[in-house]
């Protein structure tokens, strides 16, 4: 039995310690935000915030999470209001199929919380997140919009 803090709530999880956090989040906690994309930490679809850093969850063993605070796409909203990055993705209609959206939003949240990025900084920060539908420019616009809102 492991205790993990996800989206501000402590959960007792009866899962093997080597179970990837992604499967624990999806299958034990019933979350839908993080998606399986490659299982090899190369696409970004499964990213979550671990103590504020955007990390892939597909190979992160449950037993390594410890007391870190895990936040998923579902946990970004505050007081029922979507995070500015989520709102900006809606405003810019910044996805097509949406399978990459989780990782893009999570990475963007980590980015804009560190400071107001340059346009080049946005592209560089998202370099490790793949999008096959080709919505990169919309995603970058959404991150710009959210960053400007947060840092104006």
């Amino acid at each position: 039995m492991f205790s993990i803090n996800v989206n501000g709530v402590d959960h007792q999880v009866a899962a093997p310690g080597e179970a990837p956090l992604l499967f624990v989040l999806r299958n034990d906690l019933g979350l839908n935000g993080p998606q399986f994309g490659c299982g090899e930490e190369t696409c970004g679809a499964c990213k979550v915030l671990v103590d504020g850093a955007a990390v892939p969850s597909c190979r992160l063993p449950l037993q390594r999470v410890g007391t870190a605070r895990v936040v998923t796409l579902e946990g970004l909203a505050e007081d029922g209001e979507p995070h500015p990055v989520q709102q900006a993705f809606v405003d810019e209609q910044a996805m097509q199929c949406g399978m990459c959206a989780n990782g893009m939003i999570i990475e963007a949240v980590a980015l804009v919380m560190r400071g107001n990025p340059t346009d080049a900084g946005i592209h560089e920060a998202l370099e490790g997140n793949l999008c096959r539908c080709g919505t990169h420019h919309r995603i970058a616009r959404a991150v710009r919009r959210a960053a400007d809102e947060l840092w104006r």
Binding site: A19, N27, L31, N32, F36, G37, E40, A77, C131
Partner: protein, 672 residues
């Protein structure tokens, strides 16, 4: 024009609920293109209701109309036309009901409320919760495009908010009571037989499902199934022979083919100018691998899938499972973007076969390896173009010989599903029909003497099927690179050369528009070159013209900017359309520059994102999209057209910048 709705009950398409909301039922699936939002706009427009009050119910066998596949950029043109007719008929019925209740006088409708001199009634009051019980006659008056208020506006997609907030809805998010997790186990070759299995190293609690060459591991917990997949030791025989990768195109030209003249004009033989162009195998490379959930019971089955056609998949699953089609429910849930026939159908069949074996609901999640190796590929093609130029600089003769396999491998029989072939130990059947490879083989340039000959391969080097654009991608690459080469030989500017061979005003408009936007005619910035390409998708679809500007950095191609002019008739949703065109541009640029499926004697070498890379954020240039709206022209699809012009525009730009003519995709990193 007749539509799928004509002669069918209105109730198959439209429901008015007691609470006032409207449900529109479609057999077309949301692939991430925003299609369902566009269909809601079309229904809202004809019904005179607020688009926010329209819900679109996706494909579900037995509940939604059978509209075949969502493919070929036909969903707005055909699916939209059907809903438009059904909605117009529904509005007419509602007006008749209102007239009966309100008596005479002129009636008008706004926001789902019918008003007249003697009062008003909402649609819900008139019919809420009750059926129309009327057939779509096809005769109800349709709104005139100039009066549109919803169609043509940038309505936001409701699914985007759901996805941004993590509210679920994907096929990967389906959970069924008692569901177990499965992984399939497959080699990187095709046609290999399963000679043996060493299951000694498996974790506890794993069930191995083996029937002939079908092998899967199943566990209550997903990570256990994944670990079992890595631990199991199957022995495979050699797979089907595949030509060496470096000899693919010459191998294709040596095969026995079925030949088909697409244009048997006055041109015979070959012209004096001969060029060869080649297009590689490419992968859908969907961002998330395919996934499906199936619950097969003795008397029926329920299957959740992201496949492009729920009814066709049901027809293939019924004999696979030995169940009557009517006992199988196939329910669409959104998956990763698929751009054609990816692994979605096959994952559904995998889940169904395993569930039937175990008598339990099963979730199959393909791995990245499964998707890159086993999802069908966009087929390689090779083309020989020839032409003669007349003294006036016009093309006097044009021929193309195109070697292509079938691009239409979508399943309708069990042996067309991977699970069916492996479980029953039967080989992939040879093609008996050929589609897709001839898309855009014919050019719409005005050339007196033309010959276009398809040389259809009965069996491709690798299993292939529909990938965005199908043969139009390779054919437009050949046609538009060749046009550029001919322009150079004629000593005519490439834009002007194309204009001289076109009279269709819409074709000329996209070319002139993109030329104007890109500053064509003026010199490009130092060290850069520009190239242009044009095409009308599938001969009768959208018009697109693209200009690419490239530079060469240390012998590598760098695309600096793309301009795209696009005319798909009436624009239903301009923002959704821009999203599609931008996405087409990025994906087709990735395919043009870096994508090809590689293999060696041991099988496919594209097994992960390192061995099948796609363009990343910092590699994507600015893209300018210029939309040409034609409210007087019917809307045609935009899911594929902008794909076709990118590669030739880039190749033509490379030639302009360097003098080096590349005739084989991918184009990146081949200049030395």
């Amino acid at each position: 024009m007749s539509t799928a709705a004509d002669g069918t009950p209105i109730d198959d398409w439209i429901e008015i609920h007691a609470g006032g909301r409207v449900t529109v039922k479609t057999g077309k699936v949301e692939l991430g293109t925003g299609l369902l939002t566009a269909l809601a706009q079309i229904a809202a427009e004809e019904l005179d209701v607020a688009v926010e009050n329209v819900d679109v119910a996706g494909p579900w066998t037995g509940r939604s109309p059978d509209e075949g596949y969502t493919a070929g950029s036909r969903s707005i043109k055909e699916g939209g036309a059907a809903i438009r007719r059904a909605a117009a008929e529904a509005r007419q019925v509602l007006l008749e009901l209102a007239a009966a209740e309100l008596g005479g006088g002129a009636l008008s409708v706004t926001g789902g409320v019918v008003s007249g001199p003697r009062g008003s009634r909402t649609y819900a009051e008139l019919l809420g919760g009750k059926p129309f019980n009327r057939t779509v006659s096809g005769l109800a008056p349709l709104k005139r495009p100039e009066s549109y208020r919803v169609v043509g506006t940038a309505v936001q997609r409701p699914d985007i908010a759901r996805k941004a907030y993590g509210l679920g809805g994907f096929v990967t998010d389906v959970r069924v009571d008692g569901m177990v997790h499965a992984r399939v186990v497959r080699p990187r070759t095709f046609g290999a037989r399963l000679a043996g299995v060493d299951a000694s190293g498996l974790p506890e609690g794993v069930t191995v499902v083996r029937r002939n060459d079908f092998l899967a591991v199943v566990a209550d917990r997903e990570e256990v199934a994944l670990a079992a997949r890595d631990a199991i030791r199957p022995t495979w025989t050699d797979g089907d022979p595949v030509p060496p990768m470096g000899e693919l195109f010459s191998w294709m030209r040596r095969q026995v083919t079925e030949d088909q003249e697409l244009i048997d004009g006055s041109a015979r033989g070959q012209g004096s100018i001969v060029r060869d162009y080649h297009w590689p195998f490419q992968a859908h490379a969907s961002l998330a691998p395919s996934c499906a959930v199936a619950d097969v019971r003795p008397g029926g089955a329920t299957v959740y899938t992201a496949a492009q056609g729920v009814y066709p998949l049901r027809r293939a699953l019924a004999p696979l499972l030995g169940l009557p089609p009517a006992s199988i429910e196939v329910i669409h849930r959104e998956g990763s973007g698929c751009y054609g026939h990816n692994g979605a159908d096959d994952a559904a069949a995998d889940a169904a076969v395993i569930s039937q074996e175990l008598g339990r609901p099963v979730r199959v999640q393909w791995t990245r390896f499964d998707e890159l190796v086993w999802a069908r590929k966009g087929p390689a093609m090779t083309t020989r173009m020839s032409a003669d130029l007349a003294p006036d600089g016009r093309i006097a003769r044009w021929t193309s010989d195109i070697w292509s396999p079938n691009h239409g491998g979508r399943p309708s029989r069990p042996e067309q599903l991977i699970a069916g072939r492996l479980r029953d130990g039967i080989p992939e059947p040879d093609s008996t029909t050929y589609i897709g490879g001839g898309r855009n083989a014919r050019v719409d340039y005005e050339i007196a003497a033309q010959r276009v000959t398809m040389h259809w391969l009965r069996r491709p080097a690798l299993p292939g099927s529909a990938l965005r654009g199908l043969g139009a991608t390779a054919n437009t690459f050949a046609n538009e690179c060749f046009m550029d080469e001919l322009a150079g030989l004629a000593g005519v500017d490439p834009v002007e050369f194309r204009r001289r061979h076109l009279s269709d005003r819409r074709a000329l408009a996209v070319i002139d528009t993109v030329a104007g936007a890109s500053g064509w005619g003026g010199p490009p910035p130092p060290g850069r070159g520009r190239g242009v390409a044009y095409g009308r998708y599938d001969g009768t679809g959208a018009y697109v013209a693209t200009v690419a500007e490239v530079s060469i950095v240390e012998d590598a191609v760098r695309v600096e900017r793309l301009w795209i002019a696009h005319d798909c008739g009436l624009i239903v949703n301009p923002d959704g359309l821009r999203n599609q065109i931008e996405g087409n541009a990025v994906q087709s640029l990735s395919r043009a520059l870096i994508e090809q499926v590689r293999w060696d004697s041991g099988g496919l070498l594209c097994t992960d994102w390192q061995s099948y890379p796609i363009l990343r954020f910092t590699q994507i240039p600015p893209i300018d999209v210029i939309l040409i709206d034609r409210p007087d022209q019917p809307p045609v699809g935009a899911g594929e057209p902008a794909t076709i012009a990118t590669a030739p525009a880039v190749a033509n730009a490379i030639a302009a910048a360097t003098g080096v003519r590349l005739r084989q995709a991918p184009l990146g990193g081949r200049l030395r």
